[in-house]
């Protein structure tokens, strides 16, 4: 694993964390194609998610053990709290595996930001959430088209019933833009930007505290450095919450989009 980001710098200049910190140098080059830390992490996350869930379900029994109980709690949360609430009773079974996969995958990838030695949330590189959002886009559009037919689905998504005729030409393009084109974009940006901003904050307080404590001549540097590290710990706890929340929100919104695509006209 490469530990050095771009902000490891000359000791006498204050740190300036920025987007450059997220461009990690490749670990190895394979035929001119650099393999970077997030690529390794994303593959590892699939292995971890599979391994943990397999261990949880391997010795499944009627009276669950501790591991199985934990696994069932998470699964039940996604199945009942997200899928059934948002998609509705007969249809949600088909989408539970997909939603649960997304949830586990995003959760593991987000918590990379907090686990020592990983310490890089994969989703702070925009390509990864973009891929997930495009999969979600295909899934909910396919669900809607399969249910209502192509034209029926377009009508459902772009034309809210009961509108006066003069407003229709304004509403239809707006609804098309927001429901078909912008949804994957906002899904991507939300996950990407919260992970990016959170990690940047952590870098800022860690490097700033180190600089103030060790390299600064200013009289206020020592209390400032201590304050900076206290903030670092506080922000870390906030991040733990946000990382879970973002995984939940990504799954929730995917489920909601599927639910809206499948819904009958009111």
């Amino acid at each position: 694993m490469t530990l050095a980001g771009a902000s490891i710098r000359a000791a006498d200049s204050p740190p300036q964390p920025g987007p450059a910190d997220f461009n990690l140098p490749p670990i190895v080059e394979v035929a001119g194609f650099g393999i970077t830390k997030p690529m390794v992490l994303v593959v590892l996350s699939a292995v971890i998610a599979f391994g943990v869930l397999y261990a949880m379900s391997r010795r499944a029994a009627v009276v669950p053990g501790r591991l199985q109980f934990a696994g069932e709690a998470v699964y039940g949360f996604v199945r009942n709290g997200i899928a059934r609430e948002n998609i509705g009773a007969p249809d949600y079974h088909r989408y539970v595996p997909y939603l649960f996969t997304i949830f586990a995958f995003v959760l593991v990838n987000n918590y990379y930001g907090m686990i020592p030695f990983f310490q890089f949330p994969t989703m702070s590189r925009i390509g990864y959430p973009l891929a997930l959002a495009l999969i979600a886009w295909v899934v909910y559009n396919a669900a809607g088209i399969g249910r209502h037919g192509f034209l029926g689905y377009l009508k459902l998504q772009t034309l809210p019933p009961g509108l006066p005729a003069w407003i229709v030409p304004i509403i239809v393009p707006l609804e098309f833009l927001s429901n078909i084109l912008l949804r994957p974009l906002t899904l991507t940006l939300r996950l990407f930007a919260t992970m990016f901003a959170g990690h940047l904050l952590l870098i800022l307080f860690a490097l700033g505290g180190e600089y103030l404590l060790l390299h600064s001549e200013n009289a206020l540097a020592i209390p400032g450095g201590i304050l900076s590290f206290v903030m670092f710990i506080a922000i870390s706890f906030l991040e733990l919450l946000i990382m879970f929340l973002q995984a939940y929100v990504f799954t929730l919104l995917t489920a909601m989009y599927i639910g809206l695509a499948l819904a009958d006209e009111h």
Partner: protein, 70 residues
């Protein structure tokens, strides 16, 4: 020493709106739970949805603040 760009000032200003909005949402959530504790689960889902939509404005701001370089 460069002290940052106007983008960052704009980002701070852009945080005001969603900040007020998120505050209102969770104030309403607390209010709702206090009035009807048994509806907490459903209220919370809706509140988180509102929180997310509100946060979206700021999140777009974060992305644009780093993308739009002078």
């Amino acid at each position: 020493m460069e002290l940052g760009t106007l983008n960052m000032v704009g980002l701070g200003l852009a945080a005001i709106g969603p900040g007020v909005g998120i505050g209102l949402i969770f104030a309403a959530l607390v209010n709702g739970i206090a009035r009807q504790p048994e509806a907490e689960g459903r209220l919370r889902t809706t509140a988180i949805l509102g929180f997310v939509l509100c946060e979206q404005l700021f999140v777009i701001g974060v992305a644009l603040a780093f993308v739009l370089q002078p």
